[in-house]
Symmetry: C2
Subunit: 181 residues, 2 copies
Amino acid sequence: MNSRIRPMKFLVPGLKRKSLLPQETILEMYGREACECLCKDEKLKLVFSKERPFDLIELEQLLEAVGWTRRPVRRVKRALDNSLVTVGLWLHDPSFPRLIGFARCTGDGILEATVWDVAVHPFYHGCGLGKKLMEYILEVLRDMGIERVTLFADPGVVSFYEQQGWKLEPKGHRCAFWYAN
Amino acid sequence: MNSRIRPMKFLVPGLKRKSLLPQETILEMYGREACECLCKDEKLKLVFSKERPFDLIELEQLLEAVGWTRRPVRRVKRALDNSLVTVGLWLHDPSFPRLIGFARCTGDGILEATVWDVAVHPFYHGCGLGKKLMEYILEVLRDMGIERVTLFADPGVVSFYEQQGWKLEPKGHRCAFWYAN
């Protein structure tokens, strides 16, 4: 087995499940560091990938489905190109995998990384996929040797991050935003 | 006059002052997009630069002087190399300019930028240099076309950023930190 494939790490604790997808398929379709996401729903064939390219229209549709404002595709493309990590969560299909989750990071690759645009399609909420997506992205960042990861949480998801060990406003830090327009 | 040099923008309002440094000197020593920082203290010859390279020991000494923990130089070097923008505020000297201020940004270069490590040497506090440093960095980011800039403010500097038009926790955003160790 290729040591870079880490499917078992993302298994739900106590849930004994075997992979639904051959390693070769994962490697071939989703890239070398892709890994299967085994979730509570036993029928879902899901894969995390840092490498499989995005269809930008599909990505914006996903982000719109979670309630965010659509952004110009050309600007999004540049933002993705300049991101430190972009992760897709794919619903596997041999000919047409569908993007059902996404997250990306900016950062300096060593001291700081900041997570943006964390989204799981509402149709797949309740399966613990958001948690697995964050686990995957944190593992990628840990592999890079990054010391600290930051994010800005909407009021509705603050407890989601807290439950996963994120510290809210440590040492009294406050977040501040400046808008160009 | 080279259109990329913008010394007058950083003049204190109502304070009519002429440049203390020839444009040629600024260009030659601090790079093409450098600009003089004219502050309340008329004797200080100060220059903002995105290009003049840092002595990493001098940089860490500056950050230590404002009370931050020293970080391994090799990691800092990589972080600076991977930053979107690094800005130095230099006390001019024809042969040995001294670094008295610093700030850097990470980001995707188009949608998001995050400001880190904003520091002005305590000896030069009270001249409005922190404000000018932020103005300079925001102008650089605006030139890039960045939509939104974010930062994490220590409790002691929250009002400093508020006074400059930064919005604290807009729409109830909370900041969350995750630490590798």
